[in-house]
């Protein structure tokens, strides 16, 4: 019983918080993107799935315009990358620290803890969940 009361109290608080937020400006994409995101889905537009390979990607976007990326593709070992990114409107682009540009720019949408990145080149859709 005590737990239920506490839960109710928490829910009311949250509602209050939400209604409070409604009164201020909605957070911008530039703010929402900050944090660490794990790839949790790939939806290719051309066909197929990722096949038999497991892809593990964790990317962190920092406030100062830098990003850190750790990827494990298939049975390979973890590889780290870093670099800088820019977000113009909903278009995310970036450059690796070795000078290589990203393979694609992305249209970004964030809803709650889910970020969807749709590649401008080819239209593949990648979804990430915030840690």
């Amino acid at each position: 019983m005590k737990k239920q009361i506490l839960f109710l109290f928490a829910t009311i608080s949250m509602l209050f918080a939400v209604s409070s937020c409604n009164e201020i400006e909605e957070p911008k994409l530039e703010t929402l993107i900050i944090g660490t995101w794990d790839l949790n889905g790939v939806q290719f537009t051309k066909s197929a799935t990722i096949g038999s390979e497991t892809i593990s990607v964790t990317v962190t976007f920092n406030q100062d315009g830098t990003f850190a990326l750790t990827q494990v593709i298939g049975r390979g070992r973890a590889v780290d990358f870093a670099g800088t990114y820019t977000l113009t409107g909903d278009v995310l682009n970036g450059k690796y620290s070795d000078g290589a540009t990203w393979g694609s720019q992305y249209n970004v949408a964030i809803e709650g803890t889910t970020m969807t990145m749709t590649s401008v080149t080819g239209g593949d859709i990648y979804s990430y969940v915030k840690k």
């Binding site: 790839l39 290719f44 537009t45 051309k46 066909s47 197929a48 799935t49 990722i50 096949g51 038999s52 390979e53 892809i55 990607v57 990317v59 990003f67 990326l69 990827q71 494990v72 593709i73 298939g74 049975r75 390979g76 070992r77 590889v79 990358f81 970036g94 690796y96 070795d98 290589a100 540009t101 990203w102 393979g103 694609s104 992305y106 590649s119 080149t121 080819g122 239209g123 593949d124």
Partner: protein
């Protein structure tokens, strides 16, 4: 095999006739040799005159053995000590059928051998060949000045001079030093692994100075044996064998100050596993961190008191290593004779012993064990046997300039290269040699008034060999740590493809000049002849971590870099085949592609993939993933084995490809 040997024997007979006999004698027809004479195999003019080796068609009965006892025979004994629990493996490789026969009169050796060969139950009769003992003396190094590079992983004061572990291109050891001409082990030490006491490396060589201050803590110790009680306490067939065995003196007492000692075995041992981070002397590739965590060294002494070792002792040492826990044997010896093919290599007893060793499992990382041999130092374009056997790894040598050394053997049968050092080359300094541990009791060269030392410089493929042995020991340690397991063949393929391209600095016109040689050494003959490339410890650990996956983009013809699979020498390898399963063709929507380099290209059966210029050429049209298999030769330009001319063995790699709508040039996901 025997037909080849006959040809060789025939050729040498012809030569001796034309050189030494009179014209009248030339016209005489030689007496026909009996057919059973072809059972007698002589691979070297240097052999032990009082004994020979016999392999029986099956395990001999007492009656059969008794029938061989004649006036000239003094004793008949098994070559190999049988170990309880190993009988099946011994029988599988025929070790239970090898006997050594001692003769009373060396003058009658040939006659007795022929007589034994005449018996139907005898399969092969081999001379007890001799290998030459090393004679090179070390140039001493001293550690009065304790210097330490800022980013050095260990506090061993002489590590800074061990360019062969990390070469920064410093003129301190060679004016022509090239950054990266090393085994690339620093990052492995710092991030991944430094060794494991359960991985034992047997050094089959002179005795290791097991009391050496920089080796003692990493010596293998036979815990089942009580020292000096004259009893084989552990029942392994050897009495009082604590740190290994002295096969020459048939004693458990390893020695390093005998009349013929040079310090060679102790030097090789230090490269493999000198104790790291103990504030003393040098570091060893798999020497741990100074916390009793390095790989262990076993001393199998085959050189002692004489300029030669015998085949009987060498093969007994190989079996001892297998039976007592060694996962690697480091063998800086061999036969400096050009032998055209594996089948012409008549030392069947060594082949049997090596196959027994490699089939013996002494660790949790691989199904068996790995033998490593030196390629030889005659500057010949062939590799010494037994290292030249197509399925045994043989090591050629490069210097701090990342070029082949003036002495290294090269060509078919050489599987991989490692630092061997090169005295006084363009540098004019002995610091361009390999620095390791030596017995301080031995008189060094060029002591320059400083006296004797525990450390010294040597050079040779003998020094290159333990570099690979050390890296393999380190890799086995790391694989165990990661819980990974491989077959022997898989592991050998990983070793041979974990390389850097040693051909990158060799062109048709490249010449190497020396301080004390009048004519420069042309490098062109070494091009593509040093094995798959220069061993790289970091690459091998990465292979253990996982086979990489390449990315490609759908909708375009493209090249896929093969260096993640075959090392940076991938551009110069000889490729044999590329196989593309139908499932991969479907998954990636592969379209047929055409080769541009004509006959030099390897095209898959259905034309969906091409390997040329050391890269894979494909045209995927769908996103997804798939695998294909590429085969190449590790150790020459063709496969060896059997009657094939001396060559390498097949290394194959599964190439995994993920295609997306796009790809970044550096392989990053975004």
């Amino acid at each position: 095999m025997r037909s080849d040997l006959l040809i060789i024997a025939g050729a040498s007979l012809l030569l001796s006739v034309s050189c030494t006999e009179t014209i009248e004698q030339k016209n005489l027809l030689p007496l026909a040799e009996p057919e059973y004479a072809t059972k007698v195999v002589k691979m070297s003019e240097k052999y032990e005159p009082k004994s020979f080796l016999v392999k029986f068609e099956s395990v001999p009965t007492q009656e059969q053995l008794q029938s061989l006892v004649s006036e000239g025979v003094s004793s008949i004994n098994p070559v190999f000590v049988s170990v309880k629990g190993k009988e099946a493996l011994e029988a599988q490789f025929g070790l239970d059928r090898w006997y050594s026969i001692d003769v009373n009169d060396p003058e009658k050796l040939d006659d007795v051998m022929l007589s034994v060969a005449s018996q139907g139950f005898v399969s092969t009769v081999e001379y007890n060949s001799l290998s030459e003992a090393p004679t090179q003396k070390a140039i001493p190094a001293y550690q009065e000045v304790a210097t330490k590079a800022e980013d050095s992983p260990f506090n061993d004061p002489l590590l800074i001079d061990q360019w062969h572990y990390r070469n920064m291109g410093s003129a301190a050891y060679s004016r022509n030093a090239v950054k990266g001409a090393d085994v690339n082990v620093y990052d492995v030490w710092k991030n991944l692994c430094t060794g494991d006491p359960s991985i034992i490396v047997a050094v089959i060589d002179e005795g290791i100075k097991y009391t050496h201050p920089d080796l003692a803590a990493n010596m293998w110790k036979n815990e089942g044996e009580i020292p000096d009680n004259g009893i084989d306490d552990d029942g392994n067939g050897y009495v009082d064998d604590i740190y290994g065995y002295n096969f020459v003196r048939n004693s458990g007492q390893i020695v390093w100050t005998d009349d013929a000692a040079s310090g060679h075995g102790t030097h090789c041992a230090g490269t493999i596993a000198a104790v790291n981070n103990n504030g003393k002397g040098v570091s060893g590739i798999a020497g741990g961190t100074g916390n009793n965590d390095g790989c262990r060294l076993m001393s199998c002494q085959i050189f002692c008191d004489s300029k030669y070792s015998t085949m009987a002792n060498e093969v007994a040492a190989v079996k001892y290593a297998a039976d007592n826990g060694a996962s690697v044997i480091s063998c800086s010896f061999g036969t400096p004779t050009k032998i055209p093919s594996d089948n012409a290599y008549g030392e069947e007893i060594m082949v049997d012993a090596l196959h027994y060793f490699e089939a013996t499992k002494n660790n949790n990382a691989i199904d068996g064990s790995i033998a490593i041999f030196a390629a030889g130092n005659e500057n010949d374009n062939f590799c010494h046997y037994p290292g030249a056997l197509y399925d045994i790894i043989a090591v050629s040598a490069f210097g701090p300039d990342f070029l082949p050394t003036y002495y290294t053997n090269y060509g078919n049968g050489c599987n991989i290269a490692a630092p061997g050092g090169e005295a006084y080359h363009v540098s004019g300094s002995f610091k361009s040699m390999v620095l390791s541990t030596v017995p301080s009791e031995l008189e060094p060269l060029l002591a320059d008034g400083h006296g004797k030392s525990d450390y010294g410089y040597m050079q040779g493929t003998s020094m290159a060999c333990p570099h690979v042995s050390g890296v393999v020991a380190l890799a086995l340690s790391y694989a165990q740590k990661q819980g990974k397991h491989f077959t022997n063949d898989e592991f050998k393929r990983m070793i041979l493809s974990s390389v850097n391209d040693i051909d990158q600095r060799i062109s048709k016109t490249t010449e190497k000049t020396y301080a004390y040689y009048q004519s420069p050494l042309k490098m062109a003959p070494y091009f593509h002849q040093m094995g798959t490339g220069a061993i790289d410890a970091w690459r091998l650990m990465m292979k253990i971590d996982g086979i990489p996956t390449s990315t490609a983009s759908a909708g375009e013809k493209q090249w896929v870099d093969l260096s993640p699979y075959f090392g940076s020498a991938s551009v110069s390898l000889t490729y044999l085949d590329v196989e593309v399963p139908q499932a991969t063709i479907d998954a990636l929507g592969l379209q047929k592609v055409e080769a541009t380099s004509g006959d030099a290209a390897i095209v898959s059966k259905d034309g969906y993939a091409v390997v040329e210029y050391g890269r894979l050429y494909i045209h995927p049209t769908k996103v997804g993933s798939g695998k294909l298999t590429i085969k190449a030769v590790g150790g020459g330009d063709h496969l060896g084995g059997g009657d094939n001319p001396t060559g390498g063995f097949e290394i194959s790699s599964e190439v995994s490809i993920v295609t997306r709508s796009f790809k970044s040039t550096n392989g990053g996901w975004l």
